[in-house]
Subunit: 205 residues, 2 copies
């Protein structure tokens, strides 16, 4: 059974909450009620989500924290390494390159590309910036399935088409545009405007 | 009637699609079927969403593009100015400061803060970085309702508490932590890990 996006997001919240809690104070077990209260989610929902990934709690004891974290990581595929390319080394691309938490999720950026000749050959956060012209051969040679897109809007669809043509299976899209891709390719949008719309709407009320 | 987050997100997609389409080729009207096909959404859903914000299409003509864009902007509150403070001028905070698109959504960053004495007094993207000690007085004095949080995880809850205590009504949270806030305060999370979980899960299949 394929888990829906909302379920994945809740599983991530459980995982993050348990990691944070145990970092400050080691605990062995936790109940669905405790998780539910901390995250403002219904306890039945927590038990259902855990059940969906094969976790069963014991009476008043609840769940083994380590089992939960381990199950989430396995289900998500964080223990599998996902090499990725990053395209567009502007402010945001540069910020992503220095983000320290990717390894935890199995993500490693193995090469970065930019179309600006003034940038290629330079070093950024330990990566030598490559010319966009070497993007396709690189992806083919290293069998890369994931691309992180941080280009200007005007070129994002063109680059996405190139990525798809060489077999990319997921695009993490940081550009504010809707990409058209075949159905087997996942686009995860990180449109900043979506967040802003929710905020502006809330503040208007 | 309060619109749900999923509806807001779809309205934003319509708005972005129409802005992009009309930028490359001016059109006056568009049908729900055309929008639905471009965005891979059911046409009935499009008509329902438009109906929810008071838009009614005409037969085979469809909707006036300008009316749609205008209605979305009004409903979202983008025509209302939202001054904001940004806290934590690291890589990500710095990238957000240079993001060119905020004005379109009524957002203007009026002051930036950091706890690092080495940073305060320096200039970043046209802003003089202020000491975190002046955060509360600034928010009170200027009646700020929105804060953009880009601090290290360890201090994010402490800063959030401070923000809430001086009347902040929305926190745009770029730190990978779940913030505890009163029910009337909106937290919009931009957890990078949520995106990563969806991607890793997809690549695992």
């Amino acid at each position: 059974m394929r888990l829906k996006r909302v379920v994945l997001e809740r599983l991530m919240r459980y995982h993050r909450f348990l990691s944070q809690t145990t970092a400050s104070k080691p605990i062995q077990t936790i109940t669905s009620a405790q998780i539910a209260e901390a995250l403002d989610i219904d306890p039945t929902q927590v038990r259902k989500d855990f059940g969906a990934i094969g976790l069963v709690g014991i009476g008043r004891v609840g769940y083994q924290v380590e089992d939960v974290c381990c199950a989430v990581r396995t289900v998500m595929g964080f223990d599998k390494e996902n090499p990725a390319v990053l395209i567009g080394v502007g402010q945001l691309g540069g910020a992503l390159l220095t983000y320290p938490g990717f390894e935890k999720y199995g993500l490693s950026i193995t090469a970065v590309f930019d179309s600006d000749p003034a940038k290629t050959g330079r070093s950024k956060a330990g990566h030598t910036i490559r010319s966009i012209r070497s993007l396709k051969p690189y992806i083919r040679k290293h069998d890369i399935m994931l691309a992180i897109l941080c280009t200007p809007v005007e070129v994002s669809q063109t680059i996405a088409d190139r990525l798809v043509s060489v077999g990319i299976k997921a695009i993490w899209n940081f550009t504010p545009t809707d990409l058209a891709v075949p159905p087997d390719v996942l686009v995860r949008d990180e449109h900043i405007s979506l967040g802003l719309s929710e905020i502006a709407y809330h503040l208007k009320q």
